[in-house]
């Protein structure tokens, strides 16, 4: 493994960290984490937008 390999791994780890953090925050905020959309009729969509921004 060369330095560049470690750099790529670090980049992937960073992206994963942010992805996990984003998912956890969405879930913790009560937003529809894991929801596939259908926002038109979603009753929690205000909370989704508001609470995600607040955090």
């Amino acid at each position: 493994m060369r330095v560049v390999d470690y750099l790529i791994l670090a980049l992937v780890a960073g992206i994963l960290f942010f992805a996990v953090r984003r998912s956890i925050r969405r879930k913790a905020s009560g937003a529809c984490s894991g929801c596939g959309g259908g926002c038109a009729g979603c009753t929690a969509r205000t909370d989704c937008a508001k609470q995600t921004t607040e955090k």
Partner: protein
């Protein structure tokens, strides 16, 4: 300073809320869009918040919406109420106004849609109506932002000066009058103790509100006195308690309307809607038109627009993946690291991402149908059919939302009045195929049914509905005996779809899809890649068949042997589908070591056409994703009932797939 925004369904509450706060809430041409309260700061008014309550027709705690609204008004103690009234339908709207007036909270009435009243030669003497109701009345047209600033000024004024509604006795002398005043006298001290107007408490107690009775902490003697007064009123008026109060309110409203309102002519929008409805909701034409419209939507999405855009995006993703692959190879990057990037991240995320155009296109058409007012008609048309399976047309709304996502659909069941209807709808909604399954269908259709993609797609959606109906029939005869509650729904006029609404919806849909692809699907892809690249001792495997994932997959694969797909990779993809349905495709893509453009070719080594049908039926019907399961748990308030839903769904899915595979094998 907090204002409650209260009004009937489809009276323009959300439009006014957006005008007051400058927010972009979705405005549905569909009664019942708001189920939970939403709040926002009023523009141009310091420290003033407005809470948008669900649309209600009265403050009787009958539906979940009415409970949410009543609880906020009683417990949230708003400083003021903005009561939005549809001026084109004023009698029915004022019924709620009279109940709000009884609360004795500073209040202002916003007469909305005054532009329509004027355009159709109607008029309202606002000053006179204001005197009759005892609160300021402000004419507005929320959609054109007319009169909104004056409404804010009036609302701020009544709250700052604590201007309570003038004391109104809606009841002329007689039995109802005597009953209300007798009850108010009995409970006055209790009502003041909880800070609610005695008159409001009296009418609610007469209507038989049990929770208010508990809240007032009345003793047996007081309850008997109240019941005695009510029985006396019923005997004298020959009406039951609810009819007597409704008659009192409508008599007062008739008086107000007779003196202050010049009725408009029937609007041309309404005339047009009535003519269109002769076909779209006609006894013999409604269902053929509905199926025709849906067929057209699916054909345009899966055969014309969406699929072309999707193919274009697939080529772009394929080109980018190849470029990265070549770049990493040229730099001599470690093969495992390169595999993580190319076979894990790019193959996994790319396989899901390429279906973005299909999802957005489908929702483009559905949002147009909703915005025109057609979907409200479909709920009306479906009432007759749903009644046969023990549900009412109202259950169609959550089911329709379920085609987008099961999570908000389950939450939307709160609009159902009866607990029986609500629970039954929660059990059936996961059978409606959510949009996260579209990538699975699309990739299998391309692989096995390239010439009949639209038909197979419709078939899958229809199969979900049919199996939902069959389960409903079983439930109706067993766990959910009884009759559905009557379905009352206001049909809005047809209108041209609003580009702003449609664009807003598409943007949110696309944003949500992208967010999922780059969070949960990315994570799932990397985990799957890790498990299929290493063995138990964390050594890199040369063949994924000896990987950790293969070990896990082989444990559960035998369950799927009788339904035609015993390969451990397929079993694994179904497990990852529990996290998010799109992950089925990304997992297969990672495990087959292909990009999405070649995935459909690779699938032919795993499936026959028959086992592909069985797999599609299984994915259509098996357990909803973890987010949906969590929502079901929250709404049913029972872990066991939720487990029952998962077991039922998986059981139904396995039996249907088994039947399809075994029967298909006979031919």
């Amino acid at each position: 300073m907090v204002f409650a925004l209260a009004g009937n369904q489809n009276s323009g509450k959300t439009t006014l809320f957006n005008a007051l706060t400058g927010s972009n809430q979705h405005v549905g041409n569909f009664p019942g869009v708001t189920v939970e309260q939403k709040s926002g700061a009023i523009r141009g008014a310091k420290d003033a918040q407005v809470v948008d309550l669900p649309g209600i027709y009265s403050i009787r705690p009958y539906t979940q919406e009415e409970i949410v609204s009543r609880d906020f008004i009683l417990d949230g103690k708003p400083d003021g109420i903005i009561n939005i009234v549809d001026a084109t339908n004023i009698e029915r709207n004022l019924y709620l106004t009279l109940q709000l007036l009884e609360l004795r909270i500073p209040m202002v009435v916003a007469l909305n849609m005054m532009d329509e009243v004027r355009d159709n030669a109607g008029s309202i003497d606002v000053q006179l109506m204001s005197r009759q109701l005892g609160v300021p009345v402000v004419p507005i047209a929320a959609s054109k932002n007319e009169g909104v600033s004056e409404l804010v000024t009036q609302a701020m004024n009544v709250v700052k000066r604590r201007m309570l509604p003038a004391v109104q006795d809606f009841c002329p002398d007689g039995a109802v009058h005597r009953c209300i005043h007798a009850v108010a006298h009995v409970i006055e001290d209790h009502a003041r103790a909880i800070g609610v107007s005695p008159r409001f408490c009296a009418t609610k107690l007469i209507e038989g509100d049990p929770s208010l009775s508990e809240r007032l902490d009345l003793d047996q003697n007081e309850l008997e006195l109240i019941e005695h007064s009510v029985l006396e009123m019923e005997h004298e008026t020959k009406f039951d308690r609810n009819e007597a109060l409704a008659d009192m309110r409508y008599s007062f409203i008739e008086g107000v309307v007779a003196t202050s309102v010049v009725k408009s002519h029937e609007s041309k929008e309404h005339r047009r809607s009535v003519s269109i409805d002769k076909i779209l909701t006609g006894k013999y034409t409604a269902l053929p038109v509905f199926f025709g419209v849906m067929l057209l939507v699916f054909w345009l999405t899966f055969n014309v627009i969406g699929s072309s855009l999707s193919n274009l995006l697939t080529s772009g993703i394929g080109w980018l993946t190849a470029l990265i692959d070549r770049g990493l190879t040229a730099y001599g990057i470690n093969p495992v690291v390169k595999s993580l990037v190319v076979d894990g991240i790019f193959a996994g995320v790319g396989s899901v991402l390429s279906f973005l155009p299909i999802v957005v296109t489908l929702f483009f058409f559905l949002s147009i149908l909703e915005d025109t007012g057609y979907m409200a008609r479909v709920a009306f048309v479906m009432d007759r059919l749903l009644r046969k399976i023990g549900l009412s047309g109202r259950s169609f709304v959550p089911m329709l939302i379920g085609f987008g996502c099961t999570v908000p659909a389950i939450m939307a069941t709160r609009t159902l009045a009866s607990d029986r209807d609500r629970k039954m709808t929660i059990l059936l909604t996961p059978f409606m195929s959510c949009s996260a399954k579209i990538p699975i269908y699309a990739v299998f259709c391309a692989a096995f049914f390239a010439r009949y993609q639209a038909l197979v797609m419709i078939g899958l959606y229809a199969a979900g509905i049919i199996f939902g109906i069959l389960v409903a029939l079983i439930l109706k005869g067993t766990a959910f005996r009884g009759e559905p509650v009557p379905f009352v729904m206001e049909l809005p006029n047809y209108r041209m779809p609003s580009p702003k609404n449609v664009i807003l919806l598409l943007w949110e849909k696309a944003k949500d899809f992208l967010e999922r692809a780059f969070t949960i699907i990315l994570l799932a892809s990397v985990v799957i890649w890790f498990l299929q690249t290493f063995d138990l001792r964390l050594n890199v495997v040369s063949d994924s068949a000896s990987s950790l994932l293969a070990l896990i997959g082989r444990l559960i694969a035998p369950i799927f042997r009788p339904i035609g797909f015993a390969d451990w990779r397929v079993a694994t993809s179904l497990i990852s589908g529990f996290v998010a349905k799109e992950a089925v495709v990304s997992t297969l893509s990672v495990l087959m070591g292909t990009g999405v453009s070649e995935l459909h070719l690779a699938l032919s080594s795993l499936f026959t056409t028959l086992s592909a049908v069985s797999f599609l039926l299984f994915t259509l019907l098996y357990t909803p994703c973890v987010a949906a399961v969590a929502t079901i748990r929250k709404e049913l308030k029972s872990g066991w009932a939720t487990l029952g839903v998962i077991v039922m769904q998986c059981g139904v899915a396995w039996i249907v797939a088994f039947a399809a595979y075994q029967i298909g094998g006979l031919f």
